[in-house]
Symmetry: D2
Subunit: 292 residues, 4 copies
């Protein structure tokens, strides 16, 4: 399929590479051009603007850091919205606000383009291994058209319905659940450590009994080893996602006390200088408060 | 093996039954005698006091509701401590305080008896199916002597070292992790519901991607169906375990903010009349605070 | 002095009336014109737009509900910024974000106008009685020119320095302190009530010993009487101020756990239908969680 | 009046001295005898045991660190209970649990003695200046008999009713309110400081407008100067009182989220080595989490 890919960070580059390997015809754009050129050896064509990238494509996938970056490529100078053809599809994979996703849906509709929200779960290593989980929401016809693309980049796609923002909300809620795991593990590790017991043994018991899932194993191991660098997902992005889920919650008057608690710890982590580490370094705040 | 079993609540009855089915010779004691007699058809001998139950046995297993109940059978009238033979083993499976477990270890040592802490993970249905996870700690020789018993009641035994209280701490910490799951799921379900999206779909996405473990599936389903009755584990027992983990944390000066948050919700749940429901009904507090 | 007053809600109307009573020459503007006309009997001149109101005045005072309302009158159609004379002063009394206050300072500076942030403490009854506390920040010359105005509306003015945003931050922090008082009183009243003791007696002891200040007396009495209607300051405005202080805190990476706790309770209060009551009705969430 | 005084810490010594200065006949007992002897120059008679101290007195006042210390002198070896005459009064001024106060009431009643709970508000300097606030509860006749004593040590006595435990609950709730003040001030100071504004100016504005009460002034000044040593009231005692209020709250199923939040910070303060400082050093945790 002829597609464009905009946003070549750690995640985007890995995803775009998998699309190329799967035989798709990919035109890429990235603000820092060198990251786009790095994909030329796999067959990517490099565009000068997002608009140029999408002018001839059936589908454009975007994978950007935050709302502002998405707004820039969709609504800004040399943008996607004005260049994307009618009936073409914008697949937004970025973790953005529910509010912006709603605006994108409307904007594309007015241009008779399609909009599919398709955020993903998985860290860069999963992206590289085409093992992402894709949560796709949008009209069924364009979603169906994207299936091959999703299959090329992930191990499983969840098609959750016609309202794009549901996908964004699920993604934000899932990230919230992950942060709850990190904080609850941090508290229990702090407890086990201060009793002088073996936290690796504790983690082993937990992950081979009740919590036999990679999230507990992976973050558990990061926490017991305190291996927060290099980051798989930078802490300020974790804070950003925390703010996005809280913004959605505020819109509907939903108190989320664990989310605010974790949010406070993200701020403390940044205040204490852990802003360049993985988001799981939020656990350091909990460890430090325990005197560890 | 000739064993005694003291404490025949939902969990204890199921465990004792499995010991009987595995061919062990089991003398049982329960304060409410009828629950002991119910096991006679499986071959159990009914004793009149804990002391009588243990007088001829190699191992006594206790499974009781709380510290006070354990203290009563171990130190009270007609107690275990005075009747248990030298070299015999007390396997304490109850979820009790780290402090009491430490006292039990000392008391048995003075009597030249052995003490193994072996709390279990699993709800009554897992106990009935002999699918518990056993976390055993104590001297290696007595722990080794108990292996057959553990195999008869559980799917897996973790032998985690020589210090009994480590097992109690692991158990309490594990229960804390479960309550964190319940609360974090409750917050995210409240959010999804107030947006008008399908919480079952959200749960499906989560449990088939990142959280592929029964804890999320089981409690997730309880929460989406709000099926808190009949209880698998009563809410006040959940509060009790919360207090026990916080007491251990206080002893070592470990702040556990999620644990205190959940503890507050347990109190609110009791104040609002959910004390007869499953401990997962703590989610109702979160739902109610969201106006659901 | 020839002044303009924009924003005639409960607070603004009372303040403008006091300026008129003190002999100032006041042109007023309000979106809902009838509230402006109500001041004509005191001598106010009614303008059709904010810009018209300020065109001939030395000072314009604005007292509006939120950032959006301030942006509308300062930057919107028929705005203040384009009509206010050079060297004239904009005194912003609204409780707005630190960020917007910073933008206002810059915008007026570019127009060679002056900007003084002067938020006030006090509820509508204090405003009516000219008993407000004014917290003024800005260049010393314009602040000095406003002293008579401040004296006409308040019992005391604090001139806190040259940086306008400091006044906004102080105001938001002060409001945060008040919400902490409300929530801490709510928790202690719930405790006293559930023991069956006399909460009025408790409040009396507290306010005649350690907490001899109107904030405790007034909010304490509102809480013991549960007299949350009619509102002196509506609950959604309290939530708004909570969000503003948290936004400022986030900008500087300051975790504020009591502020987030109160914020969650504001959301719960709105979710439970208390959005038309006084902001102190946030206490109802605490009472309800205690089963009261 | 012929009285005994048991417990001569910072508070007790100052109170006993004021009783002596007021002309009362005071027999004193303290575990560390030298502190008792220090009062001989003021006319105190030194006893060898609590029981000896009270054998001839009409009233015994106790002022001890915690439940355990009170239990020791009332129920332990050489105790008060067995030596105090019928109709004599035990005035318990210590900050103890509601549960213990209830037990004391019963125990004295059985001995036909009287029990008055009379905890006080005020730090050591207030005790020395006879400026305490006394909160007295008990039968009206014995309370009336103690009025002269209360007048000698405090600036005001609140007689709040016949149930002694109400006084203990009021005291614990009052201390909780103070800790809420400390934490809320800490959060707002952290915010003001990280914006680079003057926290002393902020404190001045607050304490000369809405919060014109010594609690805000005194703790505010301690926090801005970070002058936590020497302690007026040691941090672990603050933690103890926090646990006592939470224990009372748990008994009646009252969630107190600010209290648990402060409790976590007390634990963090101890974990980080501030256990020898004033209880207001709990603010250091908040400062540190803000990167200060």
């Amino acid at each position: 399929m002829k597609v464009a890919f905009v946003g070549l960070g750690q995640m985007g580059s890995a995803i775009a590479a998998n699309l190329l390997k799967a035989g798709h015809n990919v035109t890429v754009y990235n603000r820092t051009r060198s990251r786009a050129e790095a994909l030329q050896s796999l067959g990517a064509v490099v565009a000068n603007t997002p608009g140029e990238a999408v002018s001839e494509t059936e589908v454009v996938l975007t994978m950007l850091a935050d709302d502002r970056a998405v707004e820039a490529v969709v609504f800004g100078k040399g943008n996607i919205l004005d260049s994307l053809g009618a009936e073409a599809i914008h697949v937004s994979m970025s973790t953005i606000s529910v509010a912006l996703s709603g605006r994108l849906a409307l904007a594309h509709q007015e241009k008779k383009q399609h909009y599919v929200a398709a955020p993903v779960f998985g860290r860069p290593d999963s992206a590289a291994a085409a093992k992402l989980f894709v949560v796709a929401a949008g009209k069924s016809e364009p979603v169906a058209r994207c299936r091959d693309l999703f299959n090329a980049i992930g191990q499983k796609t969840f098609e959750i319905g016609e309202e794009p923002i549901a996908a964004n909300l699920f993604k934000l809620s899932g990230n919230f659940l992950i942060t709850s795991v990190i904080e609850s593990l941090a508290e229990s590790f702090a407890l086990v450590r201060k009793f002088g017991f073996d936290q690796d043994k504790f983690l082993e018991v937990m992950t081979e009994s009740l919590f036999t899932t990679p999230v507990y194993k992976n973050y558990g191991t990061i926490l017991t080893k305190e291996k927060f660098d290099p980051p798989g997902f930078k802490l300020p992005l974790g804070l950003k996602d925390n703010r996005l889920v809280l913004a959605a919650a505020e819109e509907k008057a939903v108190p989320m006390p664990i989310a605010t608690l974790v949010g406070n710890n993200f701020l403390a982590a940044i205040a204490q200088g852990f802003g360049e580490s993985d988001w799981s370094a939020v656990a350091r705040v909990t460890f430090r408060n325990a005197g560890l």
